[in-house]
Amino acid sequence: MNRPEENGESPAQSFEFILFKVGDFLFGAPAEQILRIHNGDKITPEEPGHTPINMGKVFRVPEETAIARSCLLEVNTSIGARFFEVDRVEGLTSVNLSQVRELPPLIGAQMANGSFWGLALIGDRIACLVDFETLRMNKEQPL
């Protein structure tokens, strides 16, 4: 991954990310991809037939670690809005380019289906950066 100082970009260049949790794991996704966040116990997607993708199931997150899979992210994909079920949205955060890292080779090899495209260093925490488009295409397929 090119660092800002290497490619001439301003170190101050930053992007807005939505951070959310599924089980103990922290994820991040560009905020511009998120159309809406639905909070509530029972949410019915607006378009019938578009079953929400359960992120806990996709990433084989142990059920016992789930806080409450009660949050839906409505995501803008190439074929329209799709829904992703997560435990909790932590909020919006600015991520500078210098905070983003590639997946280490060993981790990247395990994620050969491309569901993660990188890592964001946020304080002492690390968020896995999710590619919703790839997730949608691998819908409900365990990694």
């Binding site: 794991f25 080779p105 090899a109 050969a112 896995c128």
Partner: protein
């Protein structure tokens, strides 16, 4: 100069023994060695010596007592060679002592020794003794010591040869997994740290624990116990060995990191312990260290194994 001088080195300290033997070899003299007075007397009875370098403080029979016994045997008519053979000349016995006082020197001479030298014996002093006795021999080109000394001389000017010599010993870092001791080549080890702040990543196989952030560098962490199919009991304070090969850094979670061990490759035997075939391929062999069995792993094979799947992408 004598054709093949017989020199006996009597010294119980293994380091001193090695050093003096090397100094003698450098002068072209191959010395026999004994670590006790009893051994020395036994040797002299079978092989008359030109020179005996005698440590004074030996376990059991000390150097003075040993010298007395050798002199008694040499003066005993029954010890002389069979009729017609030339009689043996008495050995020259040089005491090696840490005590420089006159009383000690006199006691050595009274015990039948010919000279007294202070320890540690310096190369120039040894050379002087050998020269005085006309025992210095040119290096024999085909002897192991000569070859090694020759190589050592060349080593100073040849980096490639230096590497060859060093490769004769395998530098290993030993570590503990459960009740067993394992080792990896030191050249792959960059640092050791306490295992903390491991961030789990979803969707990984059980032996890949997650990632750690070391000053902005993200490194994968592999649980060695899980990797080798060992029982998974978490140690109280586990460590991570940060390793590196071909530009890729990987953290290996182990129970504890123990010691640096240098082993000649010949001391590593093929593995005898029972491992599943998939794990057996990751093992170079095993070595006995006193009562401990050390299992030597092959880092390159581990990193290239299907368990790591690095080449899958």
């Amino acid at each position: 100069m004598k054709d093949k001088p017989t020199v006996l080195l009597v010294e119980d300290n293994p380091v001193s023994l090695k050093v003096i033997a090397a100094m003698l070899a450098k002068q072209g003299v191959q010395a026999a060695t004994a670590v006790t007075g009893e051994e020395a007397v036994q040797f002299v009875k079978q092989t008359p010596c030109d020179l005996i370098l005698m440590d004074i403080e030996l376990p059991g029979m000390n150097g003075m007592e040993t010298s007395r016994e050798i002199r008694e045997w040499e003066s005993d008519p029954s010890s002389r060679p069979a009729r017609g053979d030339a009689p043996h000349a008495p050995s020259t016995i040089v005491a090696m002592t840490a005590h420089e006082d006159e009383e000690n020197r006199q006691a050595c001479l009274n015990a039948g020794m010919n000279a007294v030298e202070t320890k540690p014996l310096r190369p120039e002093k040894l050379k002087e003794i050998l020269a005085r006795m006309n025992l210095t021999a040119p290096l024999e080109n085909n002897s192991v010591s000569s070859r090694i000394i020759g190589l050592m001389e060349k080593e100073k000017t040849s980096p490639a040869l230096k590497k060859d010599l060093k490769s004769e010993v395998r530098h290993l870092m030993s570590f503990t997994l459960g009740k067993e001791k394992y080792a990896l080549d030191m050249k792959y080890l960059k640092r050791v740290m306490w295992a903390k702040n491991i961030t789990q990543v979803p969707g990984l196989p059980p032996h890949i624990l997650g990632i750690i952030n070391i000053r902005g560098e993200i490194i994968s962490v592999v649980d060695m116990k899980m990797l080798l199919g060992l029982s998974h009991e978490t140690a109280e304070k586990p460590s991570i060995m940060i390793t590196s090969a071909r530009g890729m850094e990987t953290g290996l979670l182990v129970d504890s990191v123990d010691a640096i061990i240098d082993l000649p490759p010949l001391s590593i035997d093929p593995p005898m312990i029972t491992f599943e075939k998939e794990y057996l391929d990751l093992i170079d062999g095993e070595a006995r260290l006193d009562e401990t069995l050390l299992i030597v792993l092959n880092y390159e094979k581990i990193m290239q194994s299907e368990l790591m799947d690095i080449h899958k992408k």
